[in-house]
Homo-oligomer: 163 residues x 2
């Protein structure tokens, strides 16, 4: 991603940038945007170490971000809650770069499994192709989870493998 | 369950009873007990409507409890986070009764799908048989989720069916 290494941790100015980005992406519903921003607020409050953030920026401009955390009650399993990249910065490898840095951060602390939940339905085809191309096959599916006809799909990567 | 109908909502005295019960059950690790009590504290604080409680009691004695909530970003899907019954009160249908009352509460507000996550491994055979006998087949599995060799299993019931 053009050598801009992501930083871990949020700045207060990131909130508006993240809201702009998740809206610009265009596939998230209002409730999803609210959940994304709620996690940002938790991250900014510093109260809960369960939600961690990597932010990719180019000078003052936020290009994208990732939110992840260790799954409670597990030994080395992590959830990737969100990756979003500004549509204006897409096709530059920002998303892939963020994902690789999340994996590195998890490996550094001994994590072994990273899960991503997505939706199977219109608007999510690119998201699912992104994860599959990045080494995250579908490992589980809950039918009709989001609503009737809209399954939850879990993609996962075993981080103990090579890259 | 001997006609003791569960009540919705926690009393402050329930916390110690619930701690006693989850410890007495004997299969939960310290981290799991901590998570259970954290949810009780959230429930008692009244801050987060995402965690709801049904408590089965017999006079002053708490026999068991269930914690459930609507899954965010879904249309009518709920998670059952915990059911625990005092071992001294088992084989009296308390768990099954709590589960049925959770289902009723969810149906009343238009919910349609109830999910329970369990672990596939020693100590969880009875738990999984309980859900299967209650109409919750396994619908998904994430290998090695809890730790290597310990899968997460998702059981689910479509609440739109008859009982």
């Amino acid at each position: 991603m053009a050598r801009s290494v992501a930083r871990e941790g949020l700045r207060s100015s990131d909130r508006a940038a993240i809201e702009r980005i998740v809206r610009a992406v265009g596939i998230f519903r209002e409730e999803e945007i609210a959940v994304a921003l709620e996690l940002v607020d938790v991250g900014l409050s510093g109260d809960d170490k369960g939600y961690r953030f990597l932010v990719a920026d180019d000078g003052p401009l936020v290009l994208g971000y990732a939110c992840f955390g260790r799954a409670s009650m597990t030994d080395g399993t992590y959830d990737l809650y969100w990756i979003a990249v500004d549509p204006a910065a897409q096709h530059r490898g920002v998303g892939r770069g963020l994902l690789r840095e999340v994996e590195e951060a998890i490996r550094r602390e001994g994590g072994r499994l990273l899960l991503v939940e997505t939706e199977d339905g219109p608007g999510y085809e690119r998201t699912r192709r992104f994860y599959e191309a990045a080494g995250y096959p579908e490992v589980a599916r809950v039918r009709d989870y989001y609503r009737v006809g809209r399954d939850k799909v879990v993609h996962a990567r075993d981080l103990r493998e090579g890259r």
